[in-house]
């Protein structure tokens, strides 16, 4: 009976004043993290950090919506192609929220397997999108180099594209997961309770 209630509360989501402002904050954080990664020329995107935190603070639905809006609005204001990858962001939001509820973000050692799952979810959703729009490429140099190498050796375009995407996602999501874990631990308790209490 108790477990059932827990699941029920994880999926409950109301558009309150708290969630209304959490989502734009998460999108802003996604943007800042991505800009930092680009500015420092890191080989990862980091653009899902806000989505991770939104899921951890207010549940999988909040994270999914943050991710969705992130891509849609980003696509309509700064970079048009991002729009379709909203599907990936939704997947990431849901995955992080569910894994967080199951306790995978409680200890540093459990974050790694969670990050692997999230990377897998992200790659599985992004690969068809990559194939449809970019012929399988991801736009990141060393991922596409791998892709070129594999297709040159007559590997199926789907497998090559998945490999391209998964390798990048693995590195990115592991780093973002640990960043989110560390940042969440440093958040003032009052803030955490504020967003949690408003689910």
């Amino acid at each position: 009976m108790e477990a059932k209630n827990e699941n029920h509360s994880m999926w409950k989501f109301r558009l309150t004043a708290a969630t209304m402002t959490l989502i734009p904050a998460a999108v802003g954080i996604n943007y800042v993290a991505k800009a930092f990664a680009e500015g420092l020329k890191l080989p990862v995107w980091l653009g899902s950090l806000g989505t991770f935190l939104a899921s951890m603070l207010a549940g999988p639905v909040a994270g999914a919506i943050s991710g969705f809006i992130n891509n849609i609005i980003y696509g309509l204001t700064l970079s048009p192609i991002s729009t379709v990858y909203c599907l990936t962001s939704i997947g990431i939001g849901l995955a992080v929220g569910i894994l967080y509820e199951k306790g995978y973000f409680d200890k540093a050692s459990k974050v790694l397997p969670a990050a692997l799952v999230i990377a897998l979810v992200s790659a599985v959703i992004s690969t068809p999108l990559n194939v449809i729009f970019w012929g399988g490429q991801t736009g990141i140099a060393w991922g596409d180099a791998l892709f070129a190498y594999m297709t040159a050796h007559h590997v199926s375009i789907w497998i090559a594209s998945f490999a391209d995407e998964f390798v990048l996602d693995l590195l990115d999501k592991v780093i973002v997961a640990y960043l989110a874990y560390l940042i969440y631990k440093q958040m003032p308790k009052r803030l955490v309770f504020f967003f949690k209490g408003n689910r």
Binding site: A17, K189, R190, V192, F193, F194, G197, N198
Partner: protein
Amino acid sequence: MGNHLQVAFDQVNLNYAGFDELALKKLTLHSEINKVGLIGPSHAGKSTLLYLLAGVLDQVIPTEKSGTIALDGQDLVNWLASKQIGLVLQDPASQLSGMADTVFDEIAFGLYNQGLEEAEIEKRVQAVAQKLDLEDFLDQAPTALSGGQIQRLAIASIIALKPDLLLLDDPTSQMDPLGRQHFFAWLKESDCPVIIASSEIDDLAEVCDQLWVLEDGELQMAGKPADIFMKFANDQEIAKPAAFLMGEKMGCKFDGHYPVTADELMKAAAYGNHD
């Protein structure tokens, strides 16, 4: 002058959810609110008290509370349901709606929510902008304003709602001296009940007819500024207005106490009892 509100706190204990320590301890106070100044060191519970009266706690921030609060004889929750409360937070930029193209739109935001007609909204925004020296900025984007102007904008957005009780949490922290002067001059003339938490002790002494002193979540004293400053004359934690310090130095008293306003200082120096 204006509406006087009766407030009654009875044994109010309050802590934020997830925290053990009490933010407000055994708060008991029966008083009339005209212009009340809330003073005390940081983390004394001033913001918490303002949030509590605004109905923010419980509604928005999870807390555990015991004791009762009544306004004009009504329980706080019931009173809030039928009245308009105004709360200006400490950080002005973060309390803007984040969605207004112009200063005009920002001030008008709450008014649209009240369902007012366009003509009335136009009138109120102009009136409020004039009171807070924002008329020249009505067409500008809120993001283009300076810190002090944003603070005035936040205040304007709240007073445009014509609140029945105005709560201000350190509303002049980013204003320049002139802006602060105008603000407190306006505050003195305004006719709605006000509780203002501030460290501008000189201005509070001029404007407020009552001061509440909070320390560590406990109400140390509530009373007239003169009485408060005389009681805490030797307490280093409580700042005194310049007039008081000068009166002390000169040994001039006014009406049995050291002066707390410029006016009283002048009279004390001229006609008052010299120690």
